[in-house]
Subunit: 388 residues, 2 copies
């Protein structure tokens, strides 16, 4: 009898938060009021102009395949967006519309990971990023980073850990779970260090747009040899549409096109037609209002958590997460999260979903719910920690 399950299936860690979600749903079905601060999904609906564009496209009934790389008009709009936002000129042929950032990661890593290749990233970081690497037989080495480094890699760290088998580096800015940005100068140094080594640089920019009071540069400002992964999910409010994009170095264009044809055929047509409206002036005005609301939420939650005694050394500059040190209350943040849910109906994500470095002392709070709801959550949290 063969062992049927591929060995990679045991290398890929489950999301612990799924256990919490399951329990949260159970409690809700029993009539309990649960405040969801575990979810990495904005609570805002998709902007109306995007919905309208989809409705118009629907009426034609012609929802056929698009080219594998995406609708030319959409690739053009993405290029124009980089020109407008970052003053970088990108050849359209380097831009691939993908089924979410997930599709972008799948393509980028299928094209660059040979079995045994090592990739460096930060610990903590979003767990899927490492899992995509493992999927193709690569090794994801997560380097411990802390608040003094803004939870981001540095050139020194990269050079110190670069070995014979290192193939590339992945940086996510704003970071999930910490919401921190990498300093532009350090970002540039990291990219150049990787370029020097002839490695692949992956820049996860899916929280671009959701940055408060600072500017997040794209890796493309520093090098045309970086892979950039981005998404319509977060800033543009299109999570369930599963559409993102990938920008690749010139030498990868042909391979990525071939892989996209084979792996996806194409990105959903309706989502692409809808996304054509994402860059409209009216949509952007609406999205900027939402960004202001996220900033308000961040300020509220940050102040409240610090007040309660959580340590948040870096007030986050982006995304919609606060990664809070809860060592004052527990040395087992997963149990803390389970108990908090059970006793007070507040769902948060345990640190161990994002790595192992000080994971048991951390919790991720998502401010993807209103200030009003968060105020209730904070009261409950206070009651909870006063009991322990």
């Amino acid at each position: 009898m063969l062992n049927k399950l591929a060995s990679r299936t045991s290398d890929i860690s489950p999301f612990y938060v799924m256990e919490l979600l399951r329990r949260a749903k159970q409690l809700e079905s029993q009539g309990r009021d649960i405040i969801h601060m575990e979810i990495g999904e904005p609570d805002f609906p998709t902007p109306q102009a995007i919905i309208d564009a989809a409705a118009k496209s629907l009426q034609t009934g012609n929802i056929y395949y698009t080219p594998a790389a995406g609708l030319p008009e959409l690739r053009e709009k993405i290029a124009a967006y980089y020109q407008a936002q970052h003053s970088v000129t990108i050849d359209q042929k380097r831009i691939f519309v993908t089924p979410g950032a997930s599709g972008a990661f799948l393509l980028a890593l299928a094209a660059s990971v040979n079995p045994g290749d090592e990739f460096l990233m930060a610990d903590p970081c979003y767990p899927c990023n490492g899992n995509f690497i493992k999927l193709f037989g690569g090794i994801a080495t997560a380097l411990p980073v802390d608040a003094t480094m803004g939870y981001q890699l540095t050139e020194g760290l990269i050079r110190r850990h670069w070995s014979q088998s290192t193939k590339g580096v992945l940086i996510a800015s704003p970071s999930n779970p910490t919401g921190t940005l990498i300093e532009p100068e350090i970002f540039k140094e990291c990219i150049h260090a990787v370029t020097d080594k002839g490695g692949c640089f992956f820049s996860d920019e899916i929280y671009h747009g959701l940055v408060y009071g600072k500017q997040a540069p794209t890796a493309l400002e520093f090098s045309s040899n970086a892979f950039v992964i981005n998404s319509f999910s977060k800033y543009f409010g299109m999570t369930g549409w599963r559409i993102g994009w990938l920008i690749v170095p010139d030498e990868f264009v042909e391979a990525i096109e071939k892989l996209a044809q084979n792996m996806f055929i194409a990105t959903p047509t309706l989502s692409q037609n809808a996304a054509l409206a994402a860059f409209d002036a009216d949509t952007l005005i609406e999205l900027e209002k939402r960004r202001a609301e996220f900033a308000t939420r961040r300020d509220f939650l940050y102040d409240a958590l610090v007040q309660l005694g959580f340590e948040v050394p870096n007030k986050p500059d982006g995304a919609f997460y606060i990664y809070a040190n809860c060592a004052k209350f527990t040395d087992d943040s997963y149990q803390f999260a389970l108990d908090l849910l059970e006793e007070e109906g507040v769902a948060v994500t345990p640190g161990k979903d994002f790595g192992s470095h000080l994971a048991h002392q951390h919790l991720r709070f998502a401010y993807t719910t209103s200030v009003g709801r968060m105020a209730v959550a904070v009261q409950r949290l206070e009651r909870f920690i006063n009991r322990i």
Copy 2:
């Protein structure tokens, strides 16, 4: 300097038909009339009830992520469809809604292919199937099959080629490119042979529903240990929506769920809501009309090709393809296809997109265009072969 491109990128063959498509578009932009018989996409628009369901779902604006395995209501409907069509009872937890059959293949193979594992399939077959295996470091061994075997594998072939490193078998029925079905008895023997060996059996059933005058059993009628890959693209007319499904053996449920969360997050929400209407009685009546039209087209094209001197030993029973032997006219079907396009504006797919066994003597004709247009194509084809 590292070699940045992963080696799998050179293992994965390009689609030759893409070259033809590019040229066809060029010619069209010059005003030439091109008849497209190369495309594996039905020309019928998505059925109205499906469009309406999507429109209704759109109006809510709530296009958030669904569970990774898909909407429970949709999984339930898929289970009910198997009950109604095939009298098999499938536990809903074994059914995963996926981003197209592409997503189903990615999941099934990520969960079962270890590097070096060999999988047996027919030559000719759809090229992506082998490429999915290579993506995860597996070896796709395509066994030559011919008309006397209905272009399908047999138990004998499987047993003869099963080696230490063989992990599984893939059968596609109806087959792309040949449109042939595997005989139920042979199908059953193949599945049991693989089960005996403790291997994985993958049944590509994406052309189910598009079968003319026969019944295509599902692998699940013979074993609950088969993987079944299916899609809303072909029979249900939902190509650009990127939605399909995967049914897995019990022991794979947990691993597939974890992989789906990591690789896709979820299948597009709108496509799932739309697909809820795919099994409605009215939709099925419309789809049955289309099936009858495909049968008429098949009969027309089969008769015409045979008349012209192409050899089609097995009149196909399903899908929308005829795999025709053109040895009477050429020993280089790719060049034949290029010249046919250039001189007469008829686009067909060369055999070498489907393998190497007698590939240069074959062309695939898709009857995804009307009888009227095909009649013009046949005239042009006649003129073309009379000149060579």
